[in-house]
Amino acid sequence: MDRGQFLPSKKNVGAQLGLGIRNSALYVASTDRSQQADTKWIFGAAKNSATNDSFLLIVTGKEKFLDNNSGTGSSRDTKVNSDWEHTGDDLLLSSTSDSESESITVYGTGSKARDELPLEGTDPLKLFRDVRLLPDSGYETRVDSPVTPLTFCPGQILSVSDALGEYGGVERGGDRNLSESASFSEKGSFNRNFKLQPQIVDPTDVCDIITGMIHTTSGLRMNSDAHQIVAYASGETQSIINFSLVDTMDANRPSKCAGEVWSYDLQSKIKNIVVPEFSPILNRAADVIAVLTENSLQVFKVKFIERSSSTLSIENLGPCKFSNLEDFAFVDIAFNPWDFNEFAVIDTKGNWTLGNIVKKGPRHFRLRLSGNKRGSIYDPEELSSWHKIAWGAEYSSLLLVSRSRLIELNFRRRLQLDVIEAKSWSSLRDFTRVDDQIAVLTTSKEIILIDLKGNDIKRLVSWKHSLDPEDVSIKAFVRTVSGAQWSCQYERLFFVFVYSGLKPGILVHVFFQNGLLFQSIGVPSLLQIDGILSGLSCLASLQTPVEFHQEAANAPQTPGFECLFREIGGSMIWRVVVHSARSHLHPTKAQNKNSVDFGGLDSPPVRNVNKDFIDLPLSLPSAGKDYDASNEESLFQQYGYDLSDGMNKHLVEWAKDLENPQEVRGPKCYSFAGLAEPISKVENMEEFGSLLEQFKIHYQDQEISFTDLTTLSSLIIQENVAELGILYNKLLQCWSFGFPDDKDTTSEVLKSIILKNTGICSVAPLPFVAKNAYNELSDSHREIINSWDDVSDETETIIPLSEISRNTHTQEDSNFPSVRASQQNLSKSRNPKKKALPPPRALQAASQPVPGRSHPSMSQQQTYSQDASNILPNTMAPAFSLISASQPVPTLSDSQTQNSQRHRKKKKRVKGFG
């Protein structure tokens, strides 16, 4: 790959790549091909699946790298319970301080966290956070510090995390049942994905953790290597800066902090930390670290590193107040990659200036801003205060970036070039200078590799990342790895990590370089880190050599490197290993072919979905081939027997339960599918419908309530259809696509809907339940209930719930006198008689206890209600409303509502007469 190959492209456009877009290729003639022997084309985006696989990245080995709480004593996160050690920030306890809603959220994520949570038994809830008096100086108002230009209170001080808007709703797991917990966390993920309130993001919060190399002057003299350092902010208001050496001696062991943490309280929120990187040609590292806070610029100089004890000796080169420029807060600082003592700063409005670290001077005033090498890229149309500054490809060129512009300055020749104007379709999100030649620009739409060297700035390769363009909190981090280290044939690899402060995923896209040729790896990878719920506040990579990671003993080794990150609002810094997923790829492909497999995905939004939805069958249901139409009648008969057998079993059970009325806790509910093995195939829907109808009518007088077919039909087709045959025909009209097996599919689907969703419930225990509940009530509540029915007619129309409860109450009251044990016996004795089903019509007529009724259930209740109004006093407690709210089967309550509504009319009339 020599002789000046590069991708053909338009100037200022470059190779514009994206998902599925791999144009701008280069043809390799057959003579040249002989050396490489594999490809005819050099693509912009590699399509070769083999190379792709080695760049499909995953994260493993998430572990705690640093816990700020231990270092500083002032903690931002409270320990929730003992499980916290495992789950860390996963478990987020938040309580609303407002009195208007008492909602408490326990937020457990990840199956691991959920499993470990003692959901039953000890309650993990704590209503209040541990309150500690905080000696944090961020709260102090100081006379000499200018007031930060915020008109509102910073969220950190309020300390109620944004969970308020996101995780609304009480989510208390009182059940180990998988589907239950899955459904509630699904709700959680739903809320998480769709934040209701607009999120206000402070764009000047750039970085609160950074890693870098430090090479002190004395170290240079003694010819020792540069040390890797991690600098991070901590404290209640993120106002304490910490430095610590990183022990990277052993490549096989995970890196960790070595020695003591050196902390310094800056008394103002830390916005940005910068460790300068010098040009590779100098082959050395800096000895300074710059920290930007809300009100000053601080530069720390590492004087000496004692290797044995890993202690640091650090000097503060003094604050540089913002008043030295134009009183606006500085948002970014860059160091000259060729001159250690020169730096440039930019403020929120785009004023920039060069500055120097002077060797000699008063102890705290060694940062001097230049008086004449300053200027402004102020754009009145730019509202965001996000700005970035970086050195260009030359000694005297600066790159200034705002959300809508990228400007190259030559401060020696005093020229400026507006390289990018992004005011229409996209806006700039982040800019990273990789080395003297390459910079990576992340916009709201693309990741762009820019070549800074040469006569003109070149837009080399871009990748359309398809992330939400509205997400303003997107940041990027670039790690360069040489191809040899990653064991691939490319010269250099650029791993671009794009992460957001609002969403937990990290998108990694890999570009690679071969001479002049810059290409992109096809599909990027999405890193999902366990237990990360909100976004990432900052991500950094340890400058450790690429390590080879081995999953299992016989698995191939995969290259990877370590990354540090911190969740937004979290104090914990986590360490993960990002490595190639080559060994992981194949097992996921093999499993589970018959159903849609989201298992390989394992991402939070999908992980929380109910299992029933995850295992969606790919094929429509179809009946078995060996079906004989003539056989149908006997099939129906058999099924009828099975059903009534199952029903009778339950009736016996229910009767047993009723023997002990004090213990009755509520009605039990089943569906047809729970009674008997579903029928294999239904050809004649009308017949099947009448079978079920007969069954319902037969058991009607056993005080069993069935879900009406009209309830189901109105849910499916928004019409009240009382007959199964008609419903089937209507569905067939909708679902007929002209395939030969349309009928079978429809009938199968309808059959399973009917069998699974027709609720069967005994209403007999309801009066006992009501009675029990009433007995358990306190006197004051009883009074309310007693006085409930005294209200005159006009209140009836006010609250629908009360109506329902009242009417259901009358209904259940009405049932009360009719409970007789003899009825159960009757049903038992009656069933064996039903040996052969008579023709449907005849059976219907025979089994109807009251002749001439089209809706037996309704009319039956009508009679009961009449009875009730005659027999029972009006002051009977409607305690059923409490129970019915907690009923597990909605279909039942639906049908009851319907019944009760009809019922109300009847009752009114009765009252009118009375």
Binding site: G4, Q5, P8, K10, K11, N12, V13, G18, L19, G20, I21, N23, A25, L26, S30, T31, R33, S34, Q35, K40, T151, N193, K195, L196, Q199, I200, D202, P203, L325, D327, F328, T348, K349, G375, S376, Y378, P380, E381, W386, N410, Q416, L417, V419, I420, E421, A422, K423, W425, S426, K445, D456, R459, D468, E470, D471, V472, V523, G600, L601, S603
Partner: protein, 493 residues
């Protein structure tokens, strides 16, 4: 977390947009005032503004049409049907009261439009790029002072809030956040449809990123059928999915077919209207008379890749046992370059050039391999063909340079390739060559004999004969034989 392929529009979003652009415009005006760039009467704003306005020579013409329109409307308004006429209701003149102050009126009318009147809406890229260092302008070395900036912001705020006294509290909160330099993430709408669209598009992207192509295919096929979803903002994902699936799964069209379908359905013949407030970008999504749609370019490239690939050579794409894919593509290209926007697009010309380059490569390679099997006349014809393709390539590349001086391609690399093709023609067959030839004729006796019989069939000989030869290249070390001069006449009979 992913982009939604549909327009999001709600009252909430519109309000914030309006506020934002009104404030920006007000800031712009105030800033211009302090810079002394604005005229006393306030009719015309800054130089950038006027540059974006219509050029001066059109102005007179335009003014007269405006006057005519005004007259017509006036007479219509007397008749009482002024507003019903859509033809006359151009945005600038809807309100007769504001005619004395067109700029102010414009401001009221559509602040977003007023903003974009000052800024170009690029079609090729999302941002407008200006990378030529020769265009550098003197640096602004005056910093903006705190007092000035606050003054500008205060007056702009006054101006904006005067028009929006009755905005909702939420909008006001967001507005003040924007004003203080913060950024606001607007959550998507909570409506059922929006949630559904979001879930689907998230699932689609997650499935793609985890290489779960089956799922992605399902999500994609559902998503593109939903109303309000523009398939053109999703086509990249579609191509990626079809690419991955079409080989393994039967009954699914290839990605090339999909791109071809897109190119035939969605036209590039419309004009890109800068004065329209578009909510979706045209960069990857659509084409216009001055911008070739990305999917068309992609289609051309993909077809070219397909035409050059040796595998999946299905029977349908063969014509008389010959691979007709490349000639078909070239035919298509030769039609396309007759009309805009393809006529003016250097990339289309470049693709045309590459087509010829590939042809030249194929023919010259076959000439090499079968050189001794040809009679003198056949040899001349074959050689002419190669030379013709080389010339065509050169012409197309030239055209490509003329059409867009901005097009970069590795010229030296291509020229070297062309030179090497030419060298092959005048390369004398030596022992290795004849040996190879003998082998190839053994392999494909029927093919070579048929091509020997009919000279006219030469360009259309079976490719497979020299596909086999590819593997032998290293063995015979042909790659080292390039240093023969292409002016050596020994090979010509």
């Amino acid at each position: 977390m992913f982009e939604l392929p549909a327009v999001q529009n709600s009252k909430r979003i519109r309000t914030i947009r309006k506020l934002r652009y009104q404030y920006i415009n007000a800031l712009h005006r105030e800033h211009a005032k302090t810079q002394g760039q604005i005229n006393a009467d306030g009719t015309l704003p800054t130089p950038e503004n006027s540059a974006a306005e219509e050029t001066s020579d059109v102005d007179a013409d335009r003014a007269s049409t405006l006057i005519r329109k005004r007259r017509k409307r006036r007479s219509l308004s007397i008749l009482g049907c002024a507003d019903s006429d859509s033809e006359l209701s151009d945005t600038e003149l809807q309100d007769p009261d504001a005619q004395d102050d067109p700029h102010r009126h414009h401001f009221q009318q559509d602040s977003e439009k007023a903003f974009y009147a000052r800024h170009e809406k690029p079609q090729e890229t999302f941002e407008s790029w200006n990378t030529d260092r020769r265009n550098a302008v003197p640096m602004i070395s005056r910093t903006i002072s705190y007092a000035d900036c606050k003054h500008i912001e205060r007056s702009a705020h006054r101006r904006t809030i005067a028009r929006n006294t009755h905005i909702s509290q939420a909008a006001h909160l967001q507005y003040s956040a924007i004003r203080s330099g913060q950024e606001v993430f607007m959550p998507p709408s909570f409506g059922y449809h929006s949630v559904h669209y979001h879930q689907l598009s998230e699932l689609l992207h997650l499935s793609i990123l985890s290489r779960n192509w089956e799922n992605a295919y399902r999500c994609f096929s559902v998503l593109i059928r939903l109303p309000g979803i523009d398939v053109r903002s999703l086509w990249g994902a579609g191509v990626a999915i079809l690419d991955a699936l079409s080989q393994s799964k039967k009954g699914i069209a290839t990605s090339t077919d999909f791109l071809g379908w897109l190119s035939s359905i969605y036209t590039s013949r419309s004009n890109f209207n800068h004065s329209m407030n578009l909510s979706l970008d045209p960069v990857f999504r659509s084409g216009s008379k001055t911008h070739t749609a990305k999917f068309v370019i992609s289609w051309l490239w993909e077809t070219l890749f397909d035409a050059c690939s040796d595998i999946n050579l299905s029977q349908t794409k063969m014509y008389d046992g010959i691979d007709s894919r490349l000639p078909k593509l070239m035919e298509k290209l030769s039609e396309m370059i007759l009309a805009p926007p393809y006529m003016e697009d250097p990339e289309v010309w470049f693709i045309y050039a590459v087509c010829h380059l590939v042809c030249a490569d194929k023919f010259s390679e076959r000439f090499c391999n079968q050189g001794d099997g040809f009679s003198g006349l056949e040899k001349d014809i074959a050689r002419n063909q190669v030379v013709q393709h080389i010339t065509n390539t050169q012409n197309c590349l030239k055209k490509c340079m003329v059409k867009g001086a901005d097009f970069n391609y590795p010229e030296r690399f291509l020229q070297e390739q062309l030179a090497s093709f030419e060298k092959r023609l005048y390369f004398d067959g030596n022992a290795d060559q004849s040996q190879m030839e003998a082998k190839s004729s053994e392999d494909n006796t029927s093919d070579s004999s048929s091509s020997n019989l009919d000279t006219q069939e030469l360009p259309a000989a079976d490719l497979s004969s020299f596909i086999n030869e590819d593997e032998d290249e290293d063995y015979f070390g042909r790659s080292e034989r390039v240093h023969f001069g292409f002016d050596s006449d020994e090979s010509s009979s």
